[in-house]
Symmetry: C2
């Protein structure tokens, strides 16, 4: 085990993309490239009672892998091999540092795909996806990361190795330790390998972009698509603040078409017919819409969504929130966020996975400003409160991390937290795995 302690190394692993800046640096970092490195690190940590913050690509948005003085960082980004792809079983076996998009590309060679697709797929790792139970755009149809993880290879806090789950699609022997570790944000065990489910890559896609007078009409159209029993693989809502930023960045005129947009994609056999049915529904609500089965034109229609975050990031520092509400409350949530922005004077753009009710309100502050305290944080907290009042959750897919921890008791209640702390103690009796994060 080699603990790197020079300041540049420690500074490079001190936080993630949440905007959180710890006051101190971690004591050191181990760059693991083998399972043995992880075992050795955890044995040492147990012996020395030293907290370990496990880290993948560092793209988290809740400060789940931020680390401070007294802690060491276990960096798994170097464990980045795809160990096996078995097309007949539609299964991949990977190390945790593999980037999500790289796995998807490797699956593509066999006509398969890896369904979970966080917007960060090009830069986030499978291990981080597992730590947060990452979602993405295609979840309403294909499920989140948990539904794609069949089994895990773990190293426990004391350095013992443990395999969970199975290589089969079904299996119910014993408690579901796999699902328990998925989303546990590095607090239960260190994931050193994963057996993942792949799916047949859809042969056809069809795409539609529609514009609306206001966000209420766009949300109503999204609800009508669901009510019509259509099941797009992508159903994204983009608000006016985002459209303005995209126009400024790309020289487009999307905002002039309306104050909100929906981007819809259908896939699989009959995608063209399904998008026609979507168009028929959307047409009743939209100011204008366009559909295509041409992949190049599709990229243009998707631009309003894909270019949204980079365009906002070009205008300042951002804090990306991640609340989810029952699908029927989507319009109320987006309107409520607009009111919070107006009341607090904090700029908030909203992009939402309308298909599953997961909203990403994006708080934008001026460059170098702080997003995790003061008015921006108060606005963020008002959004948490709104989501809970609408029967929703603090976090749909980014995790609790450090930043949302104070809110967790409000959502879960003391009895639930008690049980969860009991489970934490079973896995990590000394409390050395990512203390102060997640639960």
């Amino acid at each position: 085990m080699r603990l790197l302690t020079d300041e540049a190394c420690r500074a490079g692993v001190a936080t993630d993309r949440s905007g959180h800046r710890p006051a101190t640096l971690p004591d050191g970092v181990v760059r693991a490239t083998t399972v043995d490195d992880v075992v050795e690190t955890l044995r040492w940590a147990t012996e020395n009672r030293t907290p370990v913050v496990t880290r993948g690509a560092g793209t988290g948005l809740a400060a789940g892998s931020s680390a401070s003085a007294g802690e060491v960082v276990l960096d798994l980004s170097g464990m980045d091999r795809i160990l096996d792809i078995r097309p007949d079983d539609q299964v991949a076996v990977v190390e945790p540092g593999v980037l999500t998009a790289d796995l998807d590309a490797a699956a593509g060679v066999h006509g398969l795909f890896y369904a979970p697709d966080p917007a960060s797929a090009a830069i986030s790792s499978i291990g981080g996806n597992i730590a947060t139970n990452a979602g993405g755009l295609r979840c309403a149809k294909y499920g989140v990361t948990r539904e794609a993880v069949l089994g895990l290879d773990l190293v426990l806090a004391d350095g013992r190795r443990l395999s969970t789950g199975r290589q089969t699609v079904k299996g119910v022997a014993g408690y579901d330790l796999t699902s328990l570790v998925v989303g546990s944000e590095g607090t239960l065990a260190v994931v050193v390998g994963a057996t993942l489910r792949l799916r047949p890559r859809p042969l056809e896609t069809a795409t539609l972009a529609a514009h609306f007078d206001d966000v209420v009409a766009a949300a109503a159209a999204a609800a009508a698509i669901t009510a019509a029993r259509l099941q797009p693989s992508v159903l994204e809502l983009v608000d006016s603040v985002t459209l303005e930023a995209v126009d400024a960045a790309r020289g487009s005129a999307l905002r002039s078409l309306g104050a909100a947009a929906l981007v819809v994609q259908c896939d699989g056999r009959g995608a063209g017919a399904e998008i026609d049915a979507v168009a028929e529904v959307v047409g009743k609500f939209a100011t204008t819409w366009r559909a295509t089965t041409d992949p190049v034109e599709a990229e243009e229609l998707l631009a309003a969504r894909r270019a949204g975050l980079p365009a906002l990031e070009a205008t300042g520092d951002v804090f990306i929130e991640d609340v989810a509400v029952p699908r029927s409350k989507l319009a109320e949530a987006v309107s409520g966020i607009g009111e919070i922005s107006a009341r607090t004077g904090v700029r908030i753009a909203t992009i939402a996975h309308a298909g599953d009710g997961n909203l990403h309100p994006i708080v934008v502050v001026e460059r170098g400003g702080t997003v995790t305290q003061g008015p921006p944080w108060e606005a963020a907290c008002a959004v948490f409160d709104l989501a809970l009042r609408l029967g929703g959750t603090l976090t749909g897919e980014h995790g609790v991390g450090l930043l949302k921890r104070t809110w967790l008791k409000t959502e879960l209640g003391e009895d639930s937290l008690d049980v969860q702390r009991g489970i934490k103690a079973v896995f990590d009796p000394l409390g050395i795995l990512n203390p102060g994060k997640g639960i």
Copy 2:
């Protein structure tokens, strides 16, 4: 709390459909109709250190709800209300005693369906489905029970109430207690309510039945369907022993068409085109095949599968096994089961969910014979061993219950069981919930 102690009541709740017959009867049974009944029963049980065996419709196949002297049974079959169906959110809220098919029918009124479909759907309850993480025919495409459960209302062993999960499609606040309780076979908590995910009911279906010279050709055809990236909602393999039983029961001549059959159903937009593609693949392996989009004709094609178990049950007492293997090992598994049958002289028929590698070898003994000891049980154990050697699991969807418990350590290992016992102790420190079952 009213404890019924007359012998008829106790005898009626002593076991399930596994064929296991406990040597003694439980001490009594509480027929709960409200959450308060459950709370009161568990408080009493905690106070008196009395083990509680929770029971739904009693259709389990692993003796998971069998009960003996010293135990009381908590019968939830009377808590059978569908409390809410919210079509806009595609969510249902139910009590545990609701029969699976009743929920599906109620969802159908809104153009929705409940995707998990154990073959027992007409007689099994949602609570039992949750206890075993029940699967069924449509899992390869739509997932198992765990993927349909968004949240649970629980009563803990000491009578405290606890809600897990959420009303939203996505959510990652805290550990996934919901997934932990799904499949825990009544050993962690008593499920008194569930928030379930519904899906758009497919508008179209298309069905195909194909016959093959042998089971190896049928398995190869199933693998070729997967390799062609087709995703049927149903992909079932039926062996010659089953076909013979169906012929005897129905006067059909399916066995004369070949020694194995596949029944395939595609659904959703483009189902007809997808079944044509299936036919093209299957045609290379089959002796004969027939496809239809007509629902009445489809029922006839499905008969080979649907009539299989009742036809076998007409010939003797059955023990339905439930192993799963990686999909690529399906042919090897079916052939291996045939060899075990030949070697032991025990009659074993096999029906398999070929789409997900889950096999149901059905051990048939003469009426009144014992299936859980002697040669039939030895044959069953040989099948467990085969499944594990092929990289599979003891149980795909029926659970461990009482019957497979001695095999669990072989599959999971001691370290995993240690962690699971630790989790059990967090939920149920006195060990009063369904002791001796599951883990």
